[in-house]
Symmetry: none
């Protein structure tokens, strides 16, 4: 791997600062986490977006959340094709190996992935329709959500589609036999959230009213 | 989606604390990030493991790092099968849409995914060999790394395989035409890191000596 | 300009070292910053003093902070006399063109400019009272602060005046209509800091208690 | 000063990291600098631009450079109007109080202030012509430089004007009697530099050829 380069020095400086303070203050706990293994309470599925830090929003320290982050916080439906499925592997590990008590899908405003899906489905992004587009093929997962937002006034569709990304993912989670079983036995609960980056608001899905409500 | 449940109250409480403090202190900046879009400097590929918080280690605030997290921080090789590839979609978005300057693959000690791969490859985890195992099929990506650690004394192989997870991912990144092109033009640099959770140490890959060195 | 001389060779040597290391490690990002323009999060007003490096204290890399440095980190009050106002121009550019989210005024211990102001106001530096003294006329900005430290025991007045330099600057910032408007709309927040050079301490102004508190 | 807000927590974290590492390692020296006062070798006049870190380029530690930063690294001509002149005060303090051996004016590529001056002088930025524009009135200092770049091919004028900003400042420095006297006595040397942000190049003014040469 001849292409690897040294870390930029501003990151080295910051790392050394972290080691001398936060790590040093928590050393005993981090050593126990290393020796005894993790035991996270929740599994979070969040977006790669640099503006969404679930650990910050929930004041989570190392050891609390098992976190998968992908474009648009999507879970594909269950398949048995033996292919590489990074998201499905994370779900399986969280539920079957770590036995987390909660799965939280966290969507967010201003999502570039969802914008791409919206543009693609409404015919304005032919490049995302191409077979070779990894983003396009990934966002195909959200196509069923696009159908459902067509009833919504046009200026609200983009936001509605971000919330559909959460719901489609929750629905797809239930297609995994080990998820369904754990949910039905009461060993696991699912939660759907959407956060507004600019306002700092957090909304959660309420199955009673079938809508997202401010927390 | 009738299965969604209300968020546990301890998380609601912490969210409200975050909103009143950290969000409030950074409101103006978060609004600008929402309005103008993200412009992250680096793309981080890290593990889902709850004990590895790259934003903490590097003192990064919202907006700085675009982050993909999956089991064992793996990147699969480039394919053109039009399937759902979450990791490849994240790489494409980071490099082609966001034009990040750095990709950092961050491995870590005590990695459960790598342990699984080790057990599977050494014949001690037949359940991971099964077609239906998402974790097993995902860890197949690391099989070429397993071959390379067989020369290492047995008690060091597990650690060596964690570092191979970083190197295999860097090698696979270079199979993506748009990654290779950006690297060759000098628009993108790759970095391989491995952190020891219990010691708080950070090691980086040095192509000169073909080994990981303490930062 | 016949007076310009070649750079001392120790600086040439260091520059060449920087180019081969730090620049080289960050080249892709620096090129993007050049092509796309800066988007700094904060505007820092700091002293020219060689002992105060705000980028080091906050681990900031190129692109993060827009920085104005003058004697004693002072902001003059708003005027509309069409004269050359370097500080006011920097404030206007930071707020109106760059739309920074934070303005930080950073004062410091052992400040020679503030010492001069103290000596001048207490009658011990007649040379600074002269019309021709640029330092004296610049330090006139801090005269309202001198009035306010007369209640303080004499041996603490010099330190108190350094903190007044921060407060007077924050007050003067609020006399700029575009600053006031951005603050009132929540698009901009102001912060007052004072650092003890010898102790490495950082204090911030707390409006509740009207005093500087250790961070 | 009721408007001051607490420092964003990511900056608090980074500060604490700095204190525990860089400060801690250099404590003895920083204490001496505090007790004995600064004795900087050079006075640097640089731009506020977030992409230009003169301390990084020259590997300067605390105590080495007395630094004034303003929009477009400009020095106004000497005047005796008793007004607030931040730049002139910094020049006076550096030369008369600190007796620096060098003054370095450091210009740079992609300068927003110089771009504004160029647009204003070529009739494309009427808003900068207004009396109330602090940036416009500050950039008036560079008008004599604009006249001199009209001979240059149009596509090179913007770069040429950035270099004129360095030369105009050096010329204006020589209008300060105490600067001229120190230069003529050989106690002070002046240096004109221009750096290309994207390429990391450094050019210095050579009075022999009346041009900037790569260092």
């Amino acid at each position: 791997m001849k292409y690897a380069k040294p870390l930029p020095s501003y990151l080295v400086q910051r790392y050394q600062g972290w080691k001398a303070t936060i790590f040093s203050e928590n050393k005993a706990w981090y050593r126990r986490l290393a020796d005894e293994g993790q035991r996270p309470r929740a599994f979070i599925i969040s977006c790669c977006d640099s503006r969404v830090h679930v650990t910050s929003i929930f004041g989570a320290d190392q050891g609390e959340f098992f976190i998968h982050r992908n474009i648009a916080n999507l879970v594909p439906p269950f398949t048995d094709d033996s292919d590489h499925h990074g998201t499905s592997a994370a779900v399986e590990y969280a539920v079957s190996a770590l036995k987390v008590a909660h799965i939280v899908v966290l969507g967010h405003s201003n999502c570039g992935g969802v914008q791409g899906c919206y543009d693609m489905c409404s015919g304005h992004a032919p490049e995302l329709e191409e077979k070779s587009s990894f983003v396009g093929r990934w966002m195909d997962i959200l196509r069923p959500g696009y159908e459902r937002v067509l009833d919504v006034p046009e200026e609200q569709r983009k936001d509605a589609l971000e919330k559909e990304a959460v719901l489609v993912s929750l629905e797809n989670l239930m297609t995994f036999p080990f998820v369904r079983e754990a949910v039905e036995k009461g060993d696991l609960t699912l939660h759907g959230l959407w956060t507004d980056i600019g306002e700092g608001d957090l909304h959660q899905y309420d199955p009673e009213t079938k809508s997202f409500k401010l927390v």
